[in-house]
């Protein structure tokens, strides 16, 4: 029967004898565990951020831009020349079966004034469908309606950042603001969405009826011109069919022959984001794997020191054997010593990793998320490293011949 608590006590004492050496050996594990935790925190943070952006963007989103792209990427002039119309948007809504909602967009940057405050922001002319397409709720007031779009009323919905900059603590609903000197009445406030994937403040925006934007603010080079069209597919499975249906419909509407380049581009935003999410997951695994290498190196450090320790303490091993220590008494003594090193290193490494990822998030401004699982994983891994790399030195010690060990100088 082996006495584990006493063996731990013996291990502690042995480690205390060479404080500096033990501390340096632990440092390898501390850095390893710290790196694993910090890297996983960075990776998890990035994944979480993208996942949040996907849900804030609205799900199953397709965007139609003017101009052509080739398979190799964006072609010259893509998106510069407006080619899309309200008619396109309506046709998509009507004819593409995989599509649930369509929101045409005509936007621009404009100066907005309320009282003495003024603010320059993106003004988005669109339809009431935008709220559904972008999965946007109202924090206060109500949305504009189909009727507002039809009759080009001067109503607007404000993003939270615009509210903060123009109104402070005041309730904006029912107030008049001036956009490009045109008076608009505020009828609703959008719930905050935070930053977009590109780092833009999605709340720094004003929604107005698209017809109002065309007639009062930005003008059109041809009737019913819009800059982009945003489309929500019925489901994730419908994304690809919707893309195809839209492309075919617009080709037909824009009279584009089979050999001609399209004058529009259909982008499956949800798919792009999902790809990004997938790649951050891969990145997380990769970062974790690289960090694990340093933990492994820490383990080799433990093995190295334990081998030295076994040689140095050959006589002690001989004495213990002469007094009746069995093979596993000796083995456990050294394994537990290695385990103690790696577990203390592991705990210190967890603290190091947590403060490290805090530091990364403040210095680099990245979102870092420390999951309890990653802490458990790193701690368990460090324990396994201790046992694994402690075993060989322990095994060597246990096979010493008692009389040779006693005679060792």
């Amino acid at each position: 029967m082996i006495n584990i608590p006493s063996t731990f006590r013996i291990a502690f004492r042995a480690l205390k004898v060479n404080k500096m050496r033990s501390a340096l050996t632990m440092l390898g594990i501390i850095i390893g565990v710290g790196a694993v935790i910090a890297m996983l925190a960075v990776g998890t943070g990035a994944s979480k951020k993208i996942a949040d952006q996907i849900s804030s963007m609205g799900s199953n989103l397709i965007m139609i831009l003017p101009g052509a792209t080739t398979a190799g990427g964006v072609r010259m002039g893509a998106g510069t020349q407006p080619t899309l119309t309200m008619g396109d948007a309506e046709a998509i809504q009507k004819e593409c079966l995989a599509v649930s909602d369509v929101a045409p967009v005509l936007s621009g940057v404009a100066q907005v004034v309320f009282g003495h405050q003024n603010w320059s922001t993106g003004v988005v002319g669109t339809t009431q469908s935008m709220l559904i397409v972008r999965n946007w709720q109202l924090a206060a007031g109500k949305s504009f309606t189909e009727q507002d779009v039809k009759s080009a009323t001067k109503v607007c919905l404000l993003g939270q950042s615009v509210v903060d900059n123009l109104f402070g603590d005041m309730n904006p609903v029912g107030q008049f603001i001036r956009i490009k000197n045109v008076p608009f009445i505020v009828i609703g406030i959008l719930t905050p969405k935070g930053q977009s994937a590109q780092g833009q403040d999605q709340d720094d925006t004003i929604l107005i009826p698209v017809t109002t934007a065309q007639k009062k603010l930005f003008g059109t080079s041809f009737p019913g011109m819009v800059r982009t069209i945003m489309v929500k597919a019925k489901s994730t499975e419908d994304l690809a069919p919707a893309e195809k249906q839209i492309t075919e419909l617009l080709k037909q509407r824009h009279h584009i022959g089979p050999k001609q380049d399209n004058d529009f581009t259909v982008r499956n935003l949800t798919q792009i984001m999902q790809t990004a999410e997938q790649s951050t997951k891969v990145m997380t695994i990769l970062l974790g794997a690289i960090a694990s290498v340093s933990l492994l190196v820490g383990g080799i450090g433990i093995m190295n020191i334990m081998l030295v320790s076994v040689t140095e303490r050959t006589r002690e091993i001989g004495i213990r054997m002469a007094i009746g220590a069995k093979i596993w008494d000796i083995r456990l003594q050294f394994i537990i010593e290695a385990l103690t090193l790696s577990l203390i290193g592991g705990v210190a490494g967890i603290i190091f990793g947590i403060s490290g990822s805090e530091l990364i998030s403040t210095l680099a401004g990245w979102t870092t998320i420390i999951s309890p699982l990653s802490i458990l994983l790193a701690f368990g891994f460090s324990g396994m490293v201790g046992i694994f790399f402690g075993f060989y030195p322990a095994y060597k010690a246990s096979l010493l011949d008692p009389i040779d060990a006693l005679r060792y100088e």
Binding site: I323, K326, P402
Partner: protein
């Protein structure tokens, strides 16, 4: 029934190409409760023989029975258990663990016998007391005199109630006064506790404490004298 029976034991050390016969067929019976002194010139094989008796080393040839158990049949762990329970080995160089208090050194054999901390403390304390080291239990070996260190080693040998004590020149590093004290302790253990004692010594006045003197020369026993009771 002999507590120790050695039959034609030989020990050959290979040193490169040459064989060195440290023991050339040693046969010996020792009964329970004997007090035996082993003497002989340096290099005659005394330590080699003691290490075999102590199950620290194995003979090249021959059989060794301890309490009628054939030691040759035992594996490492079984040998360790014999060293733990049956034999208290005392070395010339004490062989105490450094940086470890006297009491913890004495507790060590019990640690490997799976005895609880409380009982270990208690018994180690009693054992230290029996060798006259009360109040020294927290001293480390480097804080103790040679004689005191050897007493700690004796306390350690006694603590598991081993029936046999093997001592290889236990007084070799001690002055004559301290040696005499240690020998008195052995005599007491032998007469009072009926412990079988075998000790190696170069000095006749140390051997005089024993009841039987065995002399070695060139790996053989050349004389074996039972002492007359005075």
């Amino acid at each position: 029934m002999a507590i120790i029976e050695a039959q034609e034991i030989t020990k050959v050390y290979r040193l490169g190409d040459i064989d060195l016969n440290a023991l050339n067929g040693v046969s010996l019976r020792i009964e329970k409760g004997e007090f035996v002194a082993v003497m002989g010139p340096s290099g005659s094989g005394k330590s080699t023989f003691m290490n075999i008796l102590g199950c620290l080393d194995k003979p090249t040839n021959g059989n060794y029975f301890l309490e009628n158990i054939d030691i040759g049949d035992l594996n490492r762990d079984e040998l360790a258990a014999i060293r733990n329970k049956k034999i208290g080995f005392i070395f010339q160089g004490f062989n105490l663990l450094p940086r470890t208090s006297a009491i913890e050194n004495v507790e060590l054999p019990m640690l490997y016998d799976g005895i609880s901390l409380k009982e270990r403390r208690q018994r180690a304390m009693a054992s230290l007391k029996s060798v006259g080291l009360e109040g020294r239990e927290d001293h480390h070996p480097n804080q103790l005199s040679d004689g005191q260190q050897q007493r700690v080693a004796i306390a350690r040998a006694l603590v598991n109630d081993a029936p046999i004590i093997l001592a290889d020149e236990p007084t070799g590093n001690l002055d004559s006064k301290t040696s005499a004290d240690i020998m008195e302790l052995f005599v007491k253990l032998n007469t009072k506790s009926k412990i079988t004692i075998i000790l190696v010594t170069h000095e006749t006045d140390i051997a005089a404490y024993s009841k039987r003197i065995i002399k070695f020369l060139d790996g053989r026993i050349i004389s074996d004298e039972q002492k007359k009771r005075l």
